[in-house]
């Protein structure tokens, strides 16, 4: 357990000392969402109808932007090699790294989302559902992303390849999350969508650490 907590605290410490690695995707998130009212229309009705899609698409893209840094620095420094030959479980170490990644990418988005939701004229109930979907599904984005990040870790300029690998896997999350918020806006039931997102979270929490460990070993061979 100590390796798990130590890895999380190490990654957070490293990110705080090199803040551009996690601040750039967050800046991208805030700036791109705040440009939509200017580019499309400042009308409350139009914006609130588009808000779930806008916020969720930009969330995905900003998580995708930050995925490159998940294993990249440790690969360059040779720390990943030490993680692989360690007697500790590689899956556990990678899960810790992914949780640290979520704290730096998903959690700030959850904290910022109510303000951006308000800027896009989402009503208070929809904002609560937006936060709920983000809480359930942003960890999935980091977990599923960790598989892609571990597959492309040795490849230079792998951003495009990573997007091609990971975005199709993100689509179900996008569909259920945006449909939950749209349903909430129309006062329809949202249980089904939340259950699906919950299922994705549990499944990815169980499966992805093993798949990431496996693909990382293959990438570094």
């Amino acid at each position: 357990m100590s390796i798990f907590l130590n890895t999380i605290s190490r990654d957070l410490k490293m990110a705080i000392r090199n803040p551009s690695s996690f601040l750039n995707p967050l800046m991208f998130f805030v700036i791109s969402i705040s440009l939509f009212p200017i580019a499309i229309s400042p009308e409350a009705e139009t914006l609130s109808r588009m808000a779930p899609g806008i916020i969720w698409v930009i969330t995905m893209l900003s998580v995708l932007l930050s995925l490159n840094t998940l294993f990249h620095y440790d690969f360059d420094n040779g720390v990943l090699e030490q993680m692989i030959i360690s007697h500790h479980s590689l899956s556990l170490i990678l899960l810790a790294k992914t949780i640290a990644h979520w704290i730096l990418s998903g959690l700030p988005i959850i904290i910022l989302s109510p303000f951006l939701g308000m800027a896009l004229f989402l009503n208070s109930e929809s904002i609560i559902i937006l936060i709920l979907t983000l809480i359930i599904a942003t960890p999935c984005l980091s977990l599923i992303g960790s598989i892609g990040a571990s597959l492309v870790v040795g490849i230079k300029n792998s951003g495009m390849l990573l997007s091609l690998l990971i975005l199709p896997l993100y689509i179900p999350i996008l569909i259920f999350a945006t449909s939950a918020i749209s349903n909430a806006q129309s006062n329809l039931a949202i249980d089904g969508q939340l259950y699906f997102l919950g299922f994705f979270l549990v499944a990815s929490l169980i499966i992805t650490p093993f798949l990431s460990a496996l693909s990382l070993k293959i990438s570094l061979e």
């Binding site: 410490k13 000392r17 440790d74 040779g78 030490q82 360690s86």
Partner: protein, 200 residues
Amino acid sequence: MSKLIVNNLSCQKGYNLLFENLSFEINSGEVLKVSGANGSGKTSLLRIIAGLSSFESGEIDYDSFNLKSEQYKLDLLYLGHLASLSPELSCLENLKYSSLLGTNSLKNDYSKALKQVGLEKYENDLVGTLSAGQKKRIALSLLFITQSKVWLLDEPFSALDSKAITIIESKIEEHCINGGLCILTTHQECNIKNLKEITL
């Protein structure tokens, strides 16, 4: 008494056959120096023995454990080309994490280990601000706290000054006297007792 046996090992990278039917054994108390020209497969051999790379054919046994066994991983210390240090962390933080990751270190005297390699003044300095030789010293300070029996050292003397080389050589000798074994690659002359040598 531990023994590492490599039997008929062959390794191919792309279309290049790096070595074929390589066999040797090394007992505790011995140091094996792997020499050879650039690109002859020294690093590949060490990575294979560390369990990081796959090989075409052959067998590697450590006290009848295979490379994936928990016992072997506990007994293994591999220091590769890269220093395995994060530039955003201090020397002490890096050493603590490396020792937690890599080895079954019981002694936790990290400051003493850094003192042994002459870096006591830099304990809290970020690794990113240090020179290549100093980074190498931090990586090698792990040798002073590890309890691992099998040391695999890839170019341990590169970027080091002569004083540091002597310190590391005597540490390797001490390790072997205490029943450990060591495989290292280097292009430099080594003044280590019980040194065996193979050329790739």
